[in-house]
């Protein structure tokens, strides 16, 4: 393997010519992620139902549903591709996958003054 050889699943970063083109690449990225779920679960030995992983992927895409700026979408696409490559190539490890689920397991944030004080937050 030569050093110049592109890594597996790497994609050349590109500027999207239009919003509809960007939308199409987002859909492709989403499809790649969802299609990769069984393999992700295998390589990372994820001890969760498959539906949870699928929902989490969906959630991460939904977070940026309202982004309209093409430049921002391009960056998000790049990050998504990067995330996909790192996950599928197992450059990420189990802990990096589980980090997506931290918020789901965390106790609710303290609301009132006294609760915040007792939790050691101000």
């Amino acid at each position: 393997m030569s050093a110049a050889m592109a890594a597996h699943l790497s994609v050349v970063t590109a500027q999207s010519p239009s919003l509809s083109a960007a939308r199409q690449s987002v859909i492709h990225l989403y499809r790649d992620f969802q299609r990769g779920v069984p393999e992700i679960m295998r390589t990372h030995q994820v001890d969760m139902p498959m539906s949870m992983i699928r929902t989490k992927i969906r959630e991460e895409f939904e977070r940026h549903r309202d982004v309209k700026d093409l430049a921002v979408i391009d960056i998000l696409l790049f990050k998504g591709r990067q995330e996909y490559q790192e996950t599928m190539n197992a450059w990420k490890q189990e802990t990096h996958i589980m980090r997506y689920f931290i918020k789901d397991d965390a106790p609710p944030k303290p609301q009132g003054f006294l609760e915040k004080f007792l939790a050691g937050r101000d």
């Binding site: 199409q24 859909i27 492709h28 989403y30 499809r31 969802q34 299609r35 895409f61």
Partner: protein, 123 residues
């Protein structure tokens, strides 16, 4: 000795699949008669029924609106990401992989049926 226990074991493994009874029966047959060749294509009515069943299994879809001609987006109210999930469920059901280019074009159950009937490796 192994030959004697084989069919029973195969039935057991086939029963483990959590799929529709029709699929289980087909798998069991395929395993038992491993040397037979693939049957000649799928019946269109069968494909239609299976595709509509997939849609019915989607909890975002209103069961009364499901129809062959219904557009996923306009009629069934699914967004682009839901559509991706539906098409992927169809892929799993028929054990095929639809390339991005073709998957983007599938926007209704009818188009899905059309595409599957063109694919010879669908089963």
């Amino acid at each position: 000795m192994f030959r004697a226990i084989r069919p029973a074991a195969l039935y057991r493994s086939a029963a483990l699949y959590k799929t529709a009874p029709a699929v289980v029966a087909r798998n069991a047959m395929a395993l038992n008669f491993a040397r037979t060749y693939a049957s000649a294509g799928l019946a269109r009515s069968d494909v239609e029924k299976r595709v509509l069943d997939i849609l019915a299994g989607f909890n975002k879809v209103d069961a009364n609106k499901i129809a062959l001609k219904a557009n996923f987006n306009a009629d069934l109210g699914l967004d682009s990401l839901d559509t991706v999930e539906v098409v992927m469920a169809i892929e799993e059901e028929f054990s095929i992989e639809i390339p991005d280019k073709d998957a983007d074009e599938i926007k209704s159950a009818e188009q899905a049926v059309e595409y599957i009937s063109k694919r010879e490796d669908a089963h």
